[in-house]
Amino acid sequence: MMKRNYIVRILSLLCLLTVRAAVANPDLPENDTITRWSLGNFPKQAQQTFEQLSVSGYYRFVTNYRHFAKDQNGNVLAYPHLQNTPNNIFVGDDSQIPQLSMNISGSLGKRTSFGTDLFMWTPMTGQGEIENVKGLNLGISLYGSYSSDIGDFNVRTGGINWYALTPFTFQTNKGYDRYSIFERNPWDPNTRFIDSRYATFYNVGAINQDERWGQQAFQGIILEGNRLPNDFSGVIMYGKTQLNGGLSPVPNTSFGGKIKKSFQQDYISLNTFNNTSYSDSTERYRAGFNVATVEFKTDIGEVTLKGEVGVGRTFDFNRFNDWGELVSLKASTRIADRVPTELHVFRLSPDAVNNSAAFINTARDLTNYDTYSPGTQPVLPAVASAMVSNGQLVNNRTGFELNTQVDVGPFKTSIGYHLSTELENLSPAITYSHPVNSLVLAHFWRWAFPNDVGPYGNLSKIYRSVYETLNITAVDSISRLPKSRKSFNSLELNMKYNTRLLDRELYVFYLGQYSSSQFFVSPFTVLSEKALLRTYYHQLESYWTISKSVVWCNYIGYERIIANYDTETDVVTGRPKNQTGWSIATGFDIKMSRNAGLYLRQRWMDYKDSSFRNDRYKGYESTLEIKIFF
């Protein structure tokens, strides 16, 4: 035994002498014999690497402090669920926007790439690592492109992919750029010049929007064909939308597409979008909708005609309902004209429903069976008759809008006029918003998007906003529907002014919206008690560029909302809604360095419904935001 051990050790030393001259060859080829160097660890060759990988994104720290005031009796002036917590500190943004968002994209070849996003978020409640959150916001997308003699093709799969077809098939509302920009959106970028956000809004009418503007989220596959023969192009999409998504294996599916023929600047396209979901556990009953449209654009002299005309229908429990018409026609003069004007005529049948389109469904409920699967919206209820901004279409509605812009010296004035009426009498309620304190109000309910909350159970939170439902009491005792169809009027006025104050740029914006809903058709907004509901919103804001790095922002808002006695009344006062809201705010945009900004906002709010005494809040909210892009 001793001798054998000795031999082993000698052999070891011999190895040491000889191995220095040997070099292991890593690249010997594999073959199917046993004794070659085809054993050991594989692969023997280096792995292929990405052609390119990039990481971009932003860090956004935002925190709010909210305080509710007390009345002379020491009662907290807040909604009942906030009575015990008049002071609140919140770190983060609960509207699905993380603190750190990284967009990672890579390409494995010249024509293919992928992208994903990774977010990290810490609520900073003191618990440390255990509470931190990571995830993907948009998921994973794969892209590919191919050019050939018969056309250029693009494909995108996975998702979420942001995409749009046409307003009636797959799109979100783009509106007429009439809104307040005092509150910053999570996706608002840092600009090279600190006041670019306001200058752009003054000059162009729209501030920088992220890629989602006007587009819908889609998951699945989207195949585009461009530069096809005879100036054709097209799109095919198959997958899921956020309203019929869900991780369960129930095959709720959407598909759509477009074929477009271009005539230089003009075009005509055939478009469709369809959804099939299942309304029972054995998948024997289908529910969903179909929409098919024609979209076109043509220039006739100085006038551009653009429109979309089509039909839509719903089906539920395998029963197909009637087709309904969808019409949206716009005639506009050129934007370069001194007074560019657009006339928009629309008619959307209550039978036409598409939850992925730019119009809101106020007519028909759609049901999925797949109720409790993560990522699924079980029932897609029709909302009540909505008082909406100009440009926002809803179904069960016909009417027209007139939008124009008048530029006089430093004044730029955008005016919108809206008149519409319901096609069928379907809803005993009206919904409306509270734009003056919209974001603050949304902060009353963190994380969730609850419906029918608030002191009277008539508030519903949607993304960064809250809408209120007003019930109509002048209804038929049997059908519980109003005595007649409702009409809607709205006048919007957005005035923009630019000057220099103390040799510094000053921007002043005024946004006024005056709307009403009533049982009769009126040429203008009804200012009397004949209206079921009147809403008057005034928002005045100013932005003064104090220095190259600082903008001083100020805001004052006032809203009056008045309902008549054909609507619900308070059991104590016996009076209908009579709401008044004030908001005064100030703040600073501070450029800390390139791509890094500090944004401070302080908002005092005071809101009261003089008829419904619990509908009352008063206080302030302070916001600090740091945003860094990379």
């Binding site: 220095r20 040997a22 014999t33 046993i34 494995l108 994903t116 869900g246 991780l247 993560p374």
Partner: protein, 574 residues
């Protein structure tokens, strides 16, 4: 020389050379990114053929995912490389982060010590010899038409099947010695991996270690010694069960060219032992094996042949070589249950071809179940125990674009199973691939493929109850047509017909037989597939695929069914 001595020798070399690391020049840090991405969306439907209409099973579903494998390849210096790869996966239908998972797909460090010793620590894809550590892919339908291999390639990627490797975690070291006289050199490779960690109570740490030393005497002559061992590390748990499975083998390789004939003789012989202290009343299982193969190839004629011999003892156990890649006890990916009674659905061809959940990544320390209807002749590859016989094959690659492979196995058992009578086995593999486009010198690709695979098992016992007769026929064909640059039309069919009966051995944890269950087969499975594929780059393609798979058990023990699947696959993996 026993294993401890070899390891000592091995470690001595490694330790002394470790000082060389410090002498490596410091170089600029280099970081590369590697990995891939894939998106899959499927729509599936199930039609059940039962005596009573199935009104319970949900007959349609949808599934899929999108994933990114993001690997960071770091080279801190010229001789060291570090790889960490994340997998981010999002389930189809999950919006705003729902259904997202993050995993570490692989992590390893490798390098070269002193320009001599290559090492890798962490995740390894290991292969040794066919009787020590080897993934035989015994039940993988490797020669399927392209329309099916799109799916099986994804299984290989998911399960890290790099040829015949198994995924292991541990350390691997390679180095070579060269000599001035006598022999040209010796190539060493060794590994130590962990099969399971201790629970500190009844389960000890279990390791898998092995090495090979290949002596290259001269060009064309190589001899090797190989050892693999699975063993428990004593003292790592409160109770000390002890398991061991050792395999030693000698390998030989001779190559010579006689005029235009390339001759290669390749062989391996060795023995194994298998013991488990939990079965103290059982003797250790010990046995030997012998395997040899002679290959010949007339290069000028494109004609090749091979003849071989297999002799693997009934008690030969080598878990590294006898682990099956497919786990027949795993569940299908969808439609797990069917009929009004909601019984478990048997696996069909669609599952076997494309469901990666059925496949293992690492070796098992127990003998895994076999499926006689799929592979009864060599269910553990050529490492199948209790087999003796020969095989012969013929290859023809003379015509440009044509390849024909024919192999015939004739085997029998060495020891009877439940009877003294022995089973005899026959297997015929015929596979042909014809690149018509190349032959006709077309610019575009046109390829047809056909295959016939026959298996039979027979036993004639003293009593009729011992008789066995099982026949399996697999027919397959496919076509691949390039209809535009990069755009292929694919089609294919696979049919598997199994009829007859056999006894399936029910084995205990000591791999010995408890019981025999007689199973009768009259099973017809057919899968048709067709699709369009666009190739962006090599290994990057998008594909729309329709597949219909029928399962018809004519013994009526399981109700028949048909699964139709529509799939969209965008694959960007290397």
């Amino acid at each position: 020389m026993n294993l401890k001595k070899i390891i000592f020798l091995f470690l001595t070399c490694c330790f002394s050379l470790a000082t060389a690391i410090a002498q490596q020049p410091t170089t600029r840090k280099v970081v590369d990114f590697t990995g891939g991405a894939r998106s899959v969306v499927t729509n599936n439907s199930l039609l059940v053929k039962d005596t009573v209409p199935d009104t319970t099973t949900v007959g349609k579903n949808t599934g899929g995912y999108a994933l990114v494998d993001l690997g960071v390849n770091i080279r801190p210096n010229q001789t060291t490389e570090l790889m960490g790869m994340f997998r981010i996966r999002s389930g189809y239908g999950g919006f705003w982060g729902a259904g997202v998972t993050f995993d570490v797909r692989q992590l390893w460090l490798k390098g070269i010590i002193g320009d001599i010793v290559r090492y890798q620590v962490g995740d390894l894809n290991l292969k040794q010899t066919p009787f020590t550590l080897y993934n035989h892919r015994a039940d993988r339908f490797d020669s399927l038409p392209d329309v099916f291999s799109l799916q099986s390639d994804i299984v290989d990627y998911e399960r890290f099947y790099t040829g015949n490797t198994w995924r292991q975690q541990g350390i691997n070291v390679d180095f070579g010695l060269t000599f001035a006289k006598g022999i040209q050199g010796i190539d060493f490779t060794g590994y130590v991996t962990r099969m399971n960690a201790t629970d500190f109570l009844s389960v000890p740490d279990r390791l898998f270690a092995g090495f090979s030393a290949i002596v290259v005497q001269q060009e064309g002559i190589k001899l090797g010694y190989n050892q693999s061992s699975i063993f428990d590390v004593k003292g790592t748990s409160a109770e000390s069960p002890s398991f061991s499975n050792n395999v030693q083998s000698l390998t030989a390789y001779f190559h010579r060219t006689v005029q235009n004939l390339d001759l290669t003789l390749d062989g391996e012989a060795g023995k194994s032992s298998y013991a488990d202290s939990r079965f103290a009343d059982r003797d250790p299982l010990e046995d030997y094996f012998l395997y040899g193969k002679l290959n010949g190839l007339w290069k000028n004629k494109g004609i090749g042949f091979n003849v071989g011999y297999i002799n693997v003892g009934p008690d030969f156990r080598s878990m590294g070589a006898q682990t099956k890649e497919i786990d027949y006890s795993a569940s299908p990916e969808y439609f797990n249950r069917y009929t009004n009674g909601q019984i478990l659905r048997p696996l069909d061809l669609t599952d076997l071809i494309g469901n990666s959940n059925l496949y293992r990544t690492s070796i098992s320390d127990k003998l895994m179940d076999i499926q006689p209807a799929i592979n009864n002749v060599l269910p553990y590859g050529i490492a199948t125990f209790n087999r003796l016989g020969a095989f012969a094959g013929f290859n023809y690659i003379k015509v440009k674009g044509l390849r024909l492979d024919v192999t015939q196995y004739q085997l029998r058992e060495i020891r009877g199973q439940g009877t003294l009578a022995l089973k005899s086995f026959s297997r015929t593999d015929i596979n042909a691939r014809f690149q018509i486009g190349e032959v006709l010198e077309w610019k575009k690709k046109l390829c047809v493929h056909g295959g016939v695979f026959l298996q039979s098992t027979d036993r004639k016992g003293d009593l009729a109850v011992e008789d066995v007769s099982l026949k399996t026929t697999r027919l397959q064909g496919g076509v691949e047509v390039e209809i535009s640059k990069g755009l292929d039309l694919l089609g294919g069919v696979v049919q598997l017909n199994s009829s007859g009966s056999d006894f399936i051995a029910d084995r205990d944890d000591y791999t010995e037989i408890d019981f025999f269950e007689r199973v009768d087969y009259d099973l017809l499975q057919q899968t048709f597939a067709g699709g369009l594929r666009f190739r962006f780059e090599k290994n990057i393609y998008i594909c729309a695929l329709y597949q219909s798979s029928r399962y018809n058990d004519r013994t009526k023990s399981m109700p028949g069914f048909t699964i139709n699947q529509f799939a969209l696959i965008y694959n960007m993996t290397f």
